[in-house]
Amino acid sequence: MIEIVETGPFNTVQDLGRPGYRDIGVSASGAMDPLAMRIGNILVGNDEGAAGIEVQTFPFSLRFDRRTVFAVTGADGDPLLDALELLPWCAYTAEAGQVLELKHPPTLARAYVSIGGGLDVPSVMGSRSTSLRGSFGGNAGRPLEKGDRIAFGNSTDLAPVPANGLAVIEPAVALREVFPDLVDGALPVRALPGGEHALFPDDGDAFWSQTWKISSRSDRTGYRLSGEPIKPTASIEMRSHGIVPGVIQVPPGGEPIVQMSDANTAGGYPKIAGVIECDLWRLGQARIGSRLRFVRSTHAEARAVEQAVARYVEDVRTTSGMVKRALRAMA
């Protein structure tokens, strides 16, 4: 068991999501930074899709009731185990009774706690993710609350983790080549023109050239962007159609909405563009109030980034497996 000692609102149990049910109106949900969740799970010896905790309001702390391996990935800032500073992106062993604490991270938005064996909440429609809109999945279909106790599985891989931890080079560093850094303080987010792009004047220039700010009316469902409103040349209402996270819709007010993990499954607003999927984790780590710019991309570039991410994940899996086997042999 873990027991939630302290939590802010909207921290939830998530995994890689519940795809496959959009056709009956069910959002996929899942981690806002799925790459961090995958790496965390690999570090603790879980399947990539095991359930962990997404922490997006801090401080957060939990107590382990038995010895287990855990890792904190995603956000920057050092987690604390019984007040001892640890590294993020690093697997450690916690003893029964120890308390893990996450303070507000310096720059990023969301931290992921992965626990050996994964959180043992019921799988609903193939996933342990919390569907906040549908009030099902995860921990009773709701955010975590102080005092919640959640079982975790028995790790099949309680391999020895070195006392000083087993770390990984975080994606922002390891994948620097394919994920460009901030430009003048704005996160570059790659996107492809969407179905109604042509409705916006000057080839959507006002959309691509300005710096947008993530408004406070943003959450796991969508990011509302504030800036100079953009208006289509004609006012249309589309027939309802399926949408996916990353779609950038422009409601009549002219301030775009980027649908995120809890994206609605259907939409009708004009779509000016769509964020390429491999950039969504960076958007998931962008905080309210931070700034971003959209950069025109191509299918070829999206594919190249997807492949670089896949190589990185495979490398982490292979290397951490090798290290653990070596440690086991020495034990």
């Binding site: 109106g25 809109r133 099902f136 179905g195 209402e237 027939r239 309802s240 949408i243 996916v244």
Partner: protein
């Protein structure tokens, strides 16, 4: 939360895609939306159902989401040649014959009027009909489930009598109750979640239509026939 319906201009035309030819656009790098040309009608939807069956069997598809005379296809990865995907989708559309899905008939008992029918008076004004006539027109029609979406188990129903079309609200109701029987433009449906909703409520249905624990979570499926049966009329 993000309200998905706000500030809709009333009476805005629901436009069709390009006339004649279907249109394909992309959302991000691995999702493609095909929009049928022409009218918003059962004939177009039957072809979308046929297209869904064909495309759903492609080996490189992760997921398909049939919409209202359109189909979103989500591929497993960003395609090497997006133009080839567009061509494949358009060819599949050209080859799609009309099929009729073998649906079941669902009867939904409705309490017309009453506390949840907050938009019935406004509909009377727009339609220039009495509340009694509106209720009769609504429950005498037979509806087809075109597609599901927007909320778990929510069915977009086609077959609303044009006399009681009513545009979506400019300012949505902030907390419309789950179970409200609503009209949105030329469509009708039953609200599946309590929350912001721009459709217009004329009654209430008690029926449980989504159960995540069930092997078939959604009661409605595309192709089903829906009849609203007045359980109580309170005007």
């Amino acid at each position: 939360m993000i309200a998905t319906l706000n500030n809709h201009t009333p009476l805005r035309e629901i436009v069709s895609a390009a006339q004649g030819r279907a249109r394909v656009s992309s959302i991000g790098a691995r999702s493609f939306l095909l929009e049928a040309p022409g009218e918003f009608d059962l004939a177009a939807q039957r072809r979308i159902w046929a297209l869904s069956q064909a495309v759903g069997g492609w080996p490189d598809i992760a997921e398909i989401v049939p919409g209202m005379t359109n189909l979103l296809t989500i591929f497993q990865e960003a395609p090497q040649d997006p133009e080839a995907v567009v061509v494949r989708l358009l060819e599949a559309w050209d080859n799609a014959r009309s099929i009729d899905l073998d649906g079941k008939t669902i009867e939904i008992p409705v309490h017309y009027g009453g506390e949840h029918a907050v938009d019935l008076p406004a509909l009377c004004d727009i339609a220039r009909l009495s509340d009694r006539e509106i209720v009769r027109i609504h429950h005498e029609a037979t509806y087809r489930v075109f597609a599901l979406g927007s909320a778990p188990g929510f069915g977009y129903l086609h077959g609303l009598d044009p006399r009681i079309y009513m545009p979506r609200k400019t300012v949505p109701s902030l907390k419309m109750a789950k179970g409200c029987v609503t009209i949105g433009g030329m469509q009708t449906g039953v609200a599946m979640l309590t929350g912001p909703n721009g459709w217009n409520s004329i009654g209430f249905a008690e029926l449980q239509m989504f159960d995540p624990a069930s092997p078939k979570p959604a009661m409605m499926a595309p192709g089903d026939t829906v009849r609203f049966v007045p359980a109580r009329i309170e005007l």
